[in-house]
Symmetry: C2
Subunit: 199 residues, 2 copies
Amino acid sequence: MSSKAYHHGELRQALLEHAMRLLDTEGETALGVRRLARELGVAHSAPANHFPRKSDLLTAVAVRCFEDLEKSFESGSGKSGQQRLRKIADGLYGYAFRFPQRYRFMFRPEGLRNPDPLLRGIMERLYAELGAALSMSLKGRQPDPERTFAVDSYAISLWSMLHGYILMRLDGNFEAGRDELAGLDREQAILELWLTTCD
Amino acid sequence: MSSKAYHHGELRQALLEHAMRLLDTEGETALGVRRLARELGVAHSAPANHFPRKSDLLTAVAVRCFEDLEKSFESGSGKSGQQRLRKIADGLYGYAFRFPQRYRFMFRPEGLRNPDPLLRGIMERLYAELGAALSMSLKGRQPDPERTFAVDSYAISLWSMLHGYILMRLDGNFEAGRDELAGLDREQAILELWLTTCD
DNA sequence: AGCTAATATGGACACTGTCCATATTGGGTG
DNA sequence: CACCCAATATGGACAGTGTCCATATTAGCT
């Protein structure tokens, strides 16, 4: 506590907050232990107390990102299956295009603590949410024996398409555009096109 | 020329080849200018003659990767639209799972020379190939005015799904699996599921 | 043969992450 | 209250990195 913040105090918090700031403004390459310390006015070795290795810091940042992302999905309950799916997709699109650097960072476990239980937990919760909306949407349609797929395949297909499109956009391989035939932005168009498989 | 290879000679080639080797075996993080030089037995500063900045080296490696990838698509001409699409998907799947490190590297222009014309050219050729197979596959089906999308949306949707699925697999977010209902590996299942939108 | 331009060398600088011994401090116990 | 211990912060060290520089070597062309 006391006036002068982190000569002693909440350095861990300060590190994470400033890391998020840097991630958003300059991207992952700006996340250096020494730089963080320098810009917070502490010794270059101070962060090591809270995060022994750089990967620990990065993992903690990624966890924060995922927690933030999860809030974008606030309970689409009550709606129809397709409405919930649209809400999930919009949540993902919105987050990715508002915080591009975060999105690129959090899904790329390069320098992250390998299979972090926290991260896997959040991923599985997101996946479960998607699966719930999907099976609601698939329920009660006429079965076509030649084209029957497990719900998991639907979920993975949709998840993959959204993720792939976002990354291609963020990496500059696709450009923003419209589907004039459907009268929709491209990201909405490919979602509606995909929803076609559900009925 | 002469016996002792690259004291003078084809250093550029040697750099690229060894970089590819390292990329495949240890991943992108192993691609360091000094390390390359050291393991080729030249001075740490020798590569700078051929690649002034590290990004130039990385870009050249990425170009090689894309050229290799393009060979996987050897002319699926003559087949039907869907057959060509399956061939393209299999080519991408095969390359990605045979050379995971390459795939992750080449599509992530982090330290690459930003909008490299060579890379963009190859990307556009791949995209054109996909578009050709797709419009062949879409031609002559009954039009449904409520569900009409531009060919570009189809192409981007498929491209995105394949790319997204591959990355999720490579990053450990998805695991390999089967769709027991369809009796297919997951990557084949989501492809067949997607092809559903074409008819 | 000689010269120029291409290429290789080794030193320097400013970074980085990680380890270490040392100092300071705060909170709980006697 | 005094004390001690564990948590935390410090600064130095080491090996590694990319980039720039002045210097040396060499290859190919006139």
